[in-house]
Subunit: 388 residues, 2 copies
């Protein structure tokens, strides 16, 4: 018998009001189909299909066997923070003081801590629409107000700085950008980044897909000043999603505040995983570059496959591992369309509505899967469309 | 040149207002002494000295080598959640539905998510004073208001339910308790737990030291109903601090809200570490019990050592691995006293003020260290006191 029957035992409004990920319902149905014996093609996944490289795993094994199982410095081990700084010098030619680098358990908590250390309750953070699904919630939980500004396929999903400027009001404190981007695959142009850095807003730059670029170059906001929060991690480029290892680079003056938040909420990041992170940067770069090369081939396959099926893709996605396509000719309700494709073609994709209102009518295809799977998925989709 | 010179680039008030841990300053000075070649006795540590047992590490190694490096279910792997449920049945004879168990990266984020899913902004959470250092901050970051209620050494640090009742007002939503407790080592009496469960407040029970008890028995609030949030983890009993593996058990009706929070803020807990957690419960219990036996001996040594030095300990701490002693006869400012002891005796302890205003004048000694270290520390303290 519960002692709490007379309590209004309801979850907090904040947690109740969070929108679910619709793709989770799609996934659940996909699993049900699979348990009935059907094969399902998965284009909805947001993680590389390859396992983490041996060289990284074996470093974790060595650390574990050496007894490296204790709390570390709350901001992360000096060794990993120095290695990350070295990586930025090598990849982007920027100098990052290791003491401004904060290691976290994935890039999501890094983003949360960045906003928490920056925003007063009620202040606005500009985001694009469409955007990575979690941004509005992370901002809200940290006490801020997400303010979406549309981006358009016709403009190659680049941010229009004029549109950003017009969205700024007295409550706007920051802009959260994501390049290379989930779900659009856009890579922000250097000129746009430079302009955004000069707007008087704090830039929070989610660079978790950095290094995964197929056309042109990826940049970090650090190239345009030291006032931005740079959020990144090991999940995507090193295929370490399940490890939960991220970090962020903090503008001068924020380290102490961020450290207090980290100490209280997380104590420290994982010890031996940080050693594996050092190995990733120092030793697994060639493997990471090879993965990006393979993804580049899959991307071509996915783009030509989708175009062959009549999808209009106005500009090629240049980074990450997603194609965000207009599917309104098949159905204007993206969730309904996803369920229909899943039931009839046994292909799982992510509904555009998960990425904001401007994503409605679109579907996100991930090509972080084998070429064979991509071809089979295209074949099934072709049959689905033919029968439509 | 920074582009942000004209911004009032100051951290958020919330993050600025968080009190630092004073013990960190003590530790910094201790490290400086050590780098000058001095040996320092560490009684300030909050983690078992033993490395994680081989049986747990090797399961992580197997999981890593099997490629278990991907995102898991956001609430944790079914296998680990079932194993935790099995553990509660075995240890406490309570039935926990695995679907109400949420795996997290350490118990701190579990506590944060519990409060976040429960509290409306401005609602109060009762805590004891003294209390675990991070509680007020975790509550505040989640939008709640920490409301300390004193507990007294004279009462063996048990909660006085009458005093709790008088502290309840219309804004009070929950009470956060910690048994076995850091810093006092108190283990709540069954009768007190039962009474607390019937107050009409939601109990959030931090049971991270459960199983580490030397006198009497430890209980879980689950024995008194299913309306409590139970927060626990693997850090202490299994000496897995650096792994960051925790969990919480959620009252019926909160799972969905908690899941949405977890998905947005953390995605999922670490994959291969969850497999190690299964091994901990299934295979490392004997090692854990042996650790508690060893800690029991160290506790006796620490208690008799401190009493021999003239410290009055009114009732023995019965769990965790701390002795919280009144040191007002040596100095009423606990931080100042800590620095004095460190400088003159090269012994590091935690100042009571880190645990709330009622902790002032006290020192926390951890006996999660070797018997030799305890004896050496007592010898140095004896000399310090003699010279005083």
């Amino acid at each position: 018998m519960s002692h709490y029957l007379y309590l209004d035992s309801v979850p907090s409004k904040l947690s109740e009001q969070i929108a679910p990920f619709y793709v989770m319902d799609v996934l659940e149905r996909a699993k049900a189909l699979e348990s009935e014996g059907h094969s399902v093609v998965h284009f909805e996944v947001g993680e590389p299909d390859l396992p983490t490289h041996e060289i990284i795993c074996e470093e974790a094994v060595r650390a574990l066997r050496a007894g490296d199982t204790k709390y570390t410095h709350s901001l992360g081990t000096p060794e990993l923070r120095e290695t990350i700084a070295y990586d930025y010098a090598l990849e982007y030619g920027v100098t990052v003081p290791p003491e401004n680098i904060v290691v976290t358990m994935g890039s999501s908590p890094a983003l949360f801590l960045a906003i928490l250390s920056l925003i007063e309750p009620g202040e606005e953070v500009l985001i694009t629409n469409p955007h990575y699904s979690c941004y509005p919630q992370i901002i809200s939980i940290a006490g801020g107000v997400p303010r979406p500004v549309p981006i358009y396929e016709e403009e190659g999903y680049q941010l229009d700085v004029g549109r950003i400027k017009r969205a700024i009001d007295t409550r706007t404190r920051a802009i959260l950008v994501n390049s290379p981007s989930n779900p659009t695959g856009v890579v922000l142009e250097s000129a746009v980044m430079k302009e955004l850095s000069g707007l008087g807003l704090t830039v929070i730059s989610d660079e978790i897909y950095s290094g995964i670029v197929y056309e042109g170059e990826s940049h970090t906001f650090l190239e345009y000043g030291d006032g931005a929060f740079i959020v990144s991690g090991f999940s995507k480029l090193y295929s370490m999603t399940g490890w939960r290892l991220g970090y962020f680079i903090v503008p001068p003056g924020y380290v102490r505040s961020v450290q207090k938040l980290q100490q209280n909420l997380f104590i420290s990041p994982n010890s031996f995983i940080q050693r594996a992170g050092v190995a990733a940067i120092r030793k697994a770069k060639p493997a990471a570059r090879e993965m990006v090369r393979v993804f580049g081939e899959r991307r071509k396959l996915m783009l030509s496959g989708l175009r062959g099926l009549g999808f209009e893709i106005k500009s090629n996605p240049k980074g990450a591992f997603y194609v965000f396509v207009n599917a309104a000719h098949l159905g204007s309700d993206s969730l309904k369309l996803c369920f229909d494709i899943l039931e009839k073609a046994h292909v799982a994709v992510t509904p555009g509505i998960d990425f904001g209102s401007e994503g409605e009518g679109y579907l996100r295809f991930s090509y972080a899967t084998s070429s064979e799977t991509i071809l089979e998925g295209m074949r099934r989709l072709g049959e689905y469309i033919a029968r439509k």
